[in-house]
């Protein structure tokens, strides 16, 4: 993702460390810093244009056929056709639906089960090897068996997406609920807080930044999950479209889908980031 926002956490499928993003730099620095900050988006845009020009030049100078590598202009044309003629939209809708359903189900389950397991140190220790093993297990490898179990419809894609979204949330919920400052726990004890109040008013709010770190990773992985699910068996969706384009050797269309997927991924990520900023305003005073 060339335009992925800064601070994108390690999104490797087996990555176990979904770190909480550091707080933003203090705005105490001088005006020179502010000027440079204002220039950064312009520089990013300039780089983007430069890359496109280089790509187009490369394709033309080498005389590459569009079957191998279409230039950005050809891709733009294919994308405009697809969006204009309207045949891309239903596929976008299908994939977006799978991503969102899987993401929501997976994160809800991850947070819920994480919160449950966090209640017992024994349970946590007993389950720990399984958590590590399931993290290491490449979830995408399960896609074929889900086709066997759930057929070719929406279900197998949602299931695999949910499975992928589950683990970052499960693990980060556990960590977030557990990593509470012992002095704060002591304070709650001194104030005779009930177990429930300690959970709701101390552990849970403390875990919120951890949850969002998990949600950001899960969002990015959900796109991967849905598309790979469609690769394995589907007749609708952007993943299916890539496979179809491969069959008809329509490489520009394939690239057009890549662009759509990238924009989709970045937009969804930005949405999560926006929600995070709103929910953790206290970190960005």
């Amino acid at each position: 993702m060339a335009t992925s926002p800064p601070g994108l956490p390690d999104a490797s499928p087996t990555g176990t460390a979904h770190r909480v993003s550091p707080p933003p730099p203090s705005p105490a620095a001088g005006t020179g810093w502010r000027c440079r900050r204002a220039l950064e988006p312009a520089l990013s845009l300039l780089l983007f244009v430069g890359l496109l020009v280089a790509w187009e030049a490369f394709v033309r100078l080498r005389g590459l056929p569009r079957l191998v590598l279409p230039g950005p202009l050809v891709v733009a044309q294919a994308l405009a056709d697809g969006l204009g003629a309207g045949y891309l939209w239903p596929h976008i809708g299908t994939t977006l639906g799978e991503i969102l359903l899987g993401f929501l189900a997976g994160s809800a389950l991850g947070i819920g089960l994480g919160a449950l397991v966090a209640q017992s140190a024994l349970l946590r220790r007993v389950l720990n090897p399984y958590i590590i093993a399931s993290q290491a297990m490449p979830k995408l490898a399960l896609a074929p068996i889900f086709v066997v179990w759930f057929g070719f419809g929406l279900t197998p894609k949602v299931v695999i997406t949910a499975l992928i979204a589950f683990f970052p949330l499960f693990e980060n919920t556990l960590t977030g609920l557990h990593d509470v400052d012992p002095d704060q726990v002591e304070l709650f004890r001194a104030l005779r807080a009930s177990r429930w109040d300690t959970f709701v008013k101390l552990r849970l709010p403390h875990a919120v930044p951890y949850l969002f770190a998990g949600l950001r990773v899960a969002m990015v992985l959900s796109v991967v999950g849905a598309v790979v699910g469609e690769f394995v068996g589907a007749n609708r969706g952007l993943g299916a479209l890539i496979i179809a384009a491969q069959g008809t050797m329509d490489t520009p269309q394939m690239f057009a889908v890549f662009v759509v997927l990238t924009v989709l991924g970045v937009a969804l990520y930005a949405l999560v980031e926006f929600a995070e900023r709103w929910c953790t305003r206290w970190r960005y005073p």
């Binding site: 400052d181 005779r192 109040d197």
Partner: protein, 263 residues
């Protein structure tokens, strides 16, 4: 001193389990102490002498291995609303504003916080951070955070205030300001105070009595009444009387220390 002490410590000993040692680590050995209502007692001692352990036992956060603590003649079995705590660190919840942090004790006691709002704002005003009620801890300096923690401890009008080296992490000027704020508040609340510190001057300036604990295991080595009249002023800190008192405490401390000049 009135007939019934506000707070009484009777033969309290405590030890922590230690690997490979069946006796464990003895930190407090037969501590006895009575604090009169409205009295300000400071407890000083070297680090590791069990000061913090004693305070946690006083507040019911830790059950002593032997002995007991009485509050108004009743045994203390756990934390009670009658006692307010200020810890070494402010321990504020970062996601709550200063005001909401001060309201936490009422909230956790399931009392309507609306009834406490005015008082919380007044307390923030009294400790000198009234203008920062809507700020988050991240926006406050260490000294300001500790002021908020002080306001929080006083919200539900505890009759006893327990402070564990609350100003030790602050610079000298801020510390002095907070000491003055504490004296003002305590006089206003008519609270009984137990104040743990390793700063002899701080103890002598704030307290009615200074208790010196021996190095581990801690026991009461000596009690120093503070003859300075109230309200305490900054000038008193530079009086000869004050210098003589802190010197006496320091010498007593050296005498008991293994590294000291004990004859």
């Amino acid at each position: 001193m009135s007939a019934l002490p506000k707070l009484a410590v009777e033969g309290v000993s405590h030890w922590f389990p230690l690997d490979g040692d069946p006796l464990g680590l003895l930190v407090l050995a037969d501590v006895n102490l009575a604090v009169a209502p409205g009295e300000f007692v400071a407890i000083v001692g070297e680090s590791g002498c069990g000061k913090t352990t004693l305070l946690r036992i006083l507040g019911g956060l830790l059950r002593p291995a032997a002995g007991r603590v009485l509050l108004d003649g009743q045994p203390v079995a756990g934390p009670t609303a009658a006692m307010g705590f200020v810890f070494q660190r402010p321990v504020l919840l970062e996601w709550r504003t200063a005001l909401d942090n001060v309201l936490l004790p009422a909230e956790l006691a399931h009392e309507p916080t609306g009834r406490y709002r005015a008082r919380a704002l007044e307390l923030l005003e009294l400790v000198g951070v009234g203008a920062f009620a809507a700020r988050y801890p991240r926006q406050l300096s260490g000294g300001m955070q500790q002021r908020v923690a002080l306001a929080r401890a006083l919200l539900r009008r505890p009759s006893v205030l327990l402070l564990d080296e609350p100003f030790s992490a602050l610079d000298a000027i801020t510390r002095e300001q907070l000491q003055l704020a504490l004296l003002r508040l305590v006089a206003l609340q008519e609270a009984t105070v137990v104040f743990i510190t390793h700063d002899i001057a701080e103890a002598a300036w704030l307290a009615d009595r200074v208790l010196l604990l021996t190095p581990r295991p801690g026991r009461v080595q000596q009690v120093f009444p503070v003859p300075l009249p109230r309200p305490r002023t900054l000038e008193q800190r530079y009086s000869e009387q004050f210098a003589a008192l802190t010197r006496a405490i320091r010498l007593a401390m050296l005498g008991a220390s293994p590294a000291g000049v004990k004859g």
